[in-house]
């Protein structure tokens, strides 16, 4: 509270001080309750993964594992039907490939829309805006039929070919490129750089901050994607992590400890990575308004 030089101010603050203090105490209590509600399922997941399958079924349930064991994890590591590294590689391939291509195309096309004039530009950009608003469930069915015709069902390439251009990324990059000074580009032209050199050596480095935001959002979306990968990847070996997790769940019913261990192994590592980059993700959400 700004007190200024008003003679009245000190009296006011001391009067206002007590209720405000109490208010903050109440806030902390509420926020901590919410915090526990948010954290508890994660804690349950980790504790559950350390219990034996017998203990998991006990009524009433134990909170802390009686005899904490890593057996569930060992079972998973030794399960030849669940080569986790392979599924991690599948997920990583799709996510990294899609993020790299969309970052490149978004920067390039966004730059072009921002800094070049050409006939039909407005119409083309309008078309992109329209594309941005079309939900993916509309295109899901024909896309699947196309993949079937191309024999790309059960291939990780099937998750890649429709994802090279991201209308939202182009939109975001165009907005950012518009803030770049034209002098920067003209100076490079005078120095004799070709247009592609200008894009790669002058523009791209300037875009690193928004590209990082876009990249981490894209990575998260690709990594956690469920519906489309489930449709495309029907064979077990080629699956990505979220579909493997549901498959593992459905083949190990009643073995709660094992399922929680698999969930920890599949969910937690990437969650920690994303939590580390949280600042950027929040910034991306807030500035773009898209999930």
């Amino acid at each position: 509270m700004s007190t200024g030089t008003l003679p009245l101010a000190p009296a006011r603050t001391s009067k206002a001080h007590r209720p405000e203090f109490l208010r903050h105490i109440a806030f902390y209590i509420f926020l901590t309750l919410g915090l526990s509600f948010t954290l508890l399922p994660f804690i349950m997941m980790i504790l559950g993964s350390l219990k034996t399958n017998v203990e998991v079924l006990r009524v009433p349930p134990t909170f802390l594992p009686e005899n904490p064991t890593l057996n569930n994890y060992l079972t998973i590591f030794n399960d030849p039907k669940l080569p986790l590294l392979r599924f991690y590689a599948n997920s990583a391939f799709v996510a990294i490939f899609n993020v790299t291509t969309t970052l490149f195309t978004s920067a390039l096309v966004g730059y072009m829309f921002a800094k070049f004039e050409f006939p039909g530009k407005r119409a083309l950009f309008g078309w992109f805006l329209t594309l941005m608003m079309i939900p993916s469930h509309i295109t899901m069915i024909p896309s699947f039929l196309i993949l079937a015709k191309l024999h790309l069902i059960n291939s990780l390439w099937g998750l890649v070919i429709f994802s090279a251009v991201d209308a939202f990324g182009i939109f975001m990059m165009r907005q950012f490129c518009e803030t770049l000074p034209n002098e920067l580009i003209d100076a490079a032209r005078i120095d004799g750089a070709s247009e592609w050199q200008i894009f790669l050596r002058v523009i791209l480095p300037q875009l690193s901050a928004p590209l990082a935001t876009l990249g981490i959002l894209g990575f998260m979306g690709n990594w956690n994607a469920y519906l489309w990968p489930m449709i495309v990847l029907q064979k077990i070996e080629v699956r990505t992590l979220p579909i493997i997790l549901t498959w593992y769940n459905s083949t190990h019913t009643g073995q709660g400890g094992l399922i929680m261990a698999a969930t920890v192994l599949i969910v937690l590592p990437i969650l920690l990575v994303l939590a580390y980059f949280q600042r950027w993700i929040v910034k991306g959400f807030v500035t773009s308004g898209f999930k």
Partner: protein, 324 residues
């Protein structure tokens, strides 16, 4: 003519050519790629007028016609007043989707706005920590969220029933009792709503926090100095100022909950007795399990109309921007 000027002119013409080449080398591949997108959209549009199954060979063009006959608007007429099982299921799914979305929206706001306000007014050090933790579920894969909540909802060994028993209550079969209900909505639906809210509230919280931070501190202070209670300052100053954010959050929450799929598919797969069957789930099952692709495309179009309606509403209402 002055040789220097001539040279300049030539290089300017040269520049236009190199620029044009660059634009062409970007737009031509882009247009080719996007024409694939148009083709896919056109196909999606055509499919909904056919009784199309991927199990049948059909006509020569895209498998349309022949054994996959053109049925005009029959799919839509059937949806509105048909008596077939799939028409009934569509209407159930539509109803469940609306229940889900209209339950999620107020609950979400009732959690996220007060929490964001409280978070915004506490000390800087705790703020960052609290926000990070509240945001964790947003970053978690929804399959993981679904499995964790399934284990907590377990009727025997689950934690939620353990707490109910502790207080002497009757344990509830959360995810598979077709006869249990609360406030006219099935218990299974409430169960998936709670799991969904848990995963989602961190998102709206950070949006609200950003909006609250954008309000100049002097505005809030001056109201308090003028003798307004914190509640009055909140309702008369803060709330009107974050009105655009409120609208935005409402629309985004609606859009994502109309298209909910992952959590419900894993937790209940539409059970018990189709009480949690939502539109996306019905579309998925029709298209990829029962091979009724024409029907599923028609359903997708209805969902698209709903989503589009909400989006257009947002664009109309949000056009007036606030300045402060």
């Amino acid at each position: 003519m002055n040789p220097v000027r001539k040279q300049e002119k030539r290089s300017r013409g040269g520049l236009a050519i190199t620029k044009g080449r660059f634009v062409l080398s970007v737009t031509i591949p882009l247009l080719l790629y996007e024409s694939l997108g148009i083709f896919v959209l056109g196909w999606a549009f055509l499919l909904m007028f056919f009784d199309y199954s991927s199990g049948r060979l059909g006509g020569p063009i895209l498998g349309l016609g022949g054994t996959n006959p053109f049925v005009g608007l029959d799919n839509f007429i059937e949806m509105v007043r048909g008596t077939s099982v799939e028409a009934g299921l569509f209407r159930t799914s539509l109803k469940n989707t609306l229940i889900f979305a209209f339950a999620v929206l107020p609950l979400n706001l009732a959690i996220t706005l007060p929490m964001a306000y409280m978070l915004e007014s506490i000390g800087e050090r705790f703020k960052a920590l609290y926000r990070t933790i509240y945001f964790l579920p947003v970053l978690t894969s929804s399959v993981g969220v679904a499995l964790i909540w399934m284990s907590m909802y377990d009727p025997q060994a689950g934690w939620i029933n353990a707490i109910i028993r502790m207080f002497g209550g009757q344990p509830v079969v959360w995810l598979s009792d077709p006869n249990a209900g609360f406030a006219g909505v099935s218990v299974a639906m409430w169960a998936v709503i709670v799991a969904y809210l848990w995963q989602d509230y961190g998102y709206n919280m950070v949006i609200f926090i950003a909006a609250l931070q954008a309000i100049p501190q002097e505005l809030k202070d001056s109201a308090l100095i003028d003798g307004a209670t914190p509640w009055k300052a909140f309702t008369k100053i803060t709330l009107p100022l974050i009105r655009p954010t409120m609208l935005f959050v409402c629309v985004m929450t609606m859009l994502s909950s109309f298209q909910v799929f992952d959590i419900i598919q894993v937790m209940t797969n539409g059970d018990p007795g189709n009480q949690t069957q939502v539109l996306m789930l019905d579309i998925y099952k029709n298209a990829f399990r029962y091979q009724r692709l024409g029907w599923a495309a028609a359903e997708s179009f209805i969902l698209f109309l709903i989503v589009m309606g909400v989006t257009l509403f947002q664009m109309r209402v949000l056009r007036t921007d606030w300045e402060y």
